[in-house]
């Protein structure tokens, strides 16, 4: 039951998103596809952070989804849309198993534990050439099948078409994440984050809820992985390494994690900076340096992330509107 203003805003947003690919070059369209997939990656990550736990294994969970979906299509001939869903479920299952050791820990120890767990999974991919393809990974992953309406055939090799496919899957996923957060489940996640002892004392099984957050987050990371694998056509252990995880962290921190749109802002703004500014200026090689600088600057000057800019500006404008003398005084 959304307010009219919210609906209108969403409508405008989706209209803009529908027009967007036609304003982009072919290579920019390809970047837009990856951007949409990364939105799901970072937003699913945010759900886990609601319970107060930050993991370093989220990108590996994306990889679990990508590998599982690729292998199901390659080895068992499972049709691609079904395999993507199964990839999400595989990531969720791995998260459920990992919860048993990981959620004996909290905070820093969980962070390190999740990193170790992720590295073990990546080691398995590298070590077992059958079926994971070793360090080279999997190649020639089946593409998303064409859809033939008779009068219209949609070919998902075309980035524009895959962009719309990803947009639909990601929007639906974000809606589900939003519903979860707005329900009592989300309230319980917040409660565990702020005071886990008090939550436990009124009957919240903290272990179960931490596991639930981890499983849901991993499911959607796995879906993002499936979308990625069947688009790019190849996956390998390096693609899901810790440096990729650092990007997710930077998107989340720079955007802010208090709202669902915070990490979206983070990933969009940083991708635009990355692709247009850095690549345009030929600064590709110093990318980690610039990301690091942006992270430090945002932690220093925008600790609540980009999401806090809007409310801040609005508050300032309101103050200025009410009391022009004060605004003038400040400027002087």
């Amino acid at each position: 039951m959304w307010r009219i203003a919210t609906r209108l805003r969403l409508l405008i947003l989706f209209a803009a998103l529908a027009v967007l690919p036609y304003l982009l070059s072919y290579s920019q369209q390809e970047i837009a596809v990856l951007l949409v997939i990364n939105v799901l990656l970072v937003c699913s990550y945010r759900l886990l952070t609601l319970t107060g736990e930050w993991s370093l294994g989220h990108v590996v969970m994306m990889g679990v989804g990508a590998y599982a979906s690729a292998l199901l299509t390659k080895r068992l001939g499972v049709p691609v849309p079904v395999s993507m869903l199964a990839g999400g479920l595989a990531a969720a299952a791995v998260a459920a198993i990992l919860s048993v050791p990981l959620f004996r820990m909290k905070g820093f120890y969980f962070l390190i534990g999740s990193f170790a767990a992720g590295e073990i999974i990546r080691l398995i991919w590298k070590r077992f050439t059958d079926p994971f393809g070793g360090p080279k990974g999997l190649k020639r992953i089946d593409a998303f099948p064409n859809i033939d309406f008779g009068f219209l055939e949609i070919d998902f090799y075309e980035p524009v078409n895959y962009y719309f496919l990803a947009l639909i899957v990601v929007s639906a996923s974000l809606y589900v994440l939003h519903r979860i957060e707005r329900s009592r489940i989300g309230l319980t996640f917040h409660a565990i984050h702020w005071q886990d002892r008090l939550a436990e004392s009124v009957g919240v099984d903290n272990f179960r809820y931490r596991t639930l957050a981890f499983v849901i987050a991993s499911f959607f990371a796995g879906i993002a992985g499936g979308l990625y694998g069947h688009y790019v056509g190849a996956v390998n252990p390096t693609r899901f390494g810790v440096d990729q995880m650092v990007y997710v962290l930077v998107w989340a921190i720079v955007g802010g994690t208090a709202t669902l749109h915070g990490p979206i802002l983070g990933v969009v703004v940083l991708t635009v900076i990355n692709e247009i500014v850095l690549r345009g200026l030929g600064l590709d090689t110093v990318r980690p340096l610039i990301y690091g600088a942006i992270l430090i600057l945002s932690v220093l000057y925008l600790p609540d992330g980009l999401e806090s800019l809007g409310p801040r500006l609005r508050a300032r404008l309101r103050r200025r509107g009410r009391d022009p003398a004060a605004a003038g005084g400040r400027a002087a």
Binding site: H190, Q195, S201, G203
Partner: protein, 265 residues
Amino acid sequence: MSGPGERPILEARGLIRRFGGLVAVDNFSFAVREGAIHGLIGPNGAGKTTTFNVISGFYAPNAGQVLYRGRNVSGRKTSALAAMGLVRTFQGSTLFQELSVLDNVRVGRHLTARAGFLARLLGADRPSERAADAKARETLAFFGLEELAGEPASNLSHGHQRMLGMAVALSAEPRVLLLDEPFTGMNPQETRRMMSLVRRIRDGGVTVMLVEHDMQAVMNLCDTITVMNFGALLVEGAPEEVQNDPAVIEAYLGAAADDGAGHAA
């Protein structure tokens, strides 16, 4: 007013809890009768909070048993004990500070507002959530906090925070409520109001065990008082008996002389 029954609803038998070399709870036993308001007092550091932590499952006992409604529940998870009706509050203001007052109490209704994952996702939990909201507001009204429902808990005065802490615990619908220093930091007027609320909670069928340093309140409120010192049982009895017991006076005076604070007197 309904007096306590004969049957113990909560019992400790030979509880021991060590922290390294320190024996915080030392072979401690007591029995709380159903329907009672049972006081647990003792000088600072006597082991009262540790006892609560063991009973409520935050710590496992090193030895001994906790019996709840005749069953040995030692070492069970806190959340499982809460589901059985054994709920505690915390010393100091332990709240979901960033959540609203209403949301604090809504979290307290975790056990009673049950629904499956899909029901929550699809919004089919709305009837049970509406009921939970109504109950939460009732609880707030009981504590006189209904006006503050929309405020963040962190904005509340100390006295109101203590009340909200009790409101959260009460909304879990306990059979036994363990209160750790419910009156600390309250002014005399607030304390009197809280005392009458504690009586009403008991009259509503909840057995209350409370730790408190405000002796006047404890003597007024409790049917039975257990005094502990250095982790062990010192004396147990009715308020008049305990009040005049030389061992109790000695323990408190000793403690007061030790740290010069004497705020327990």
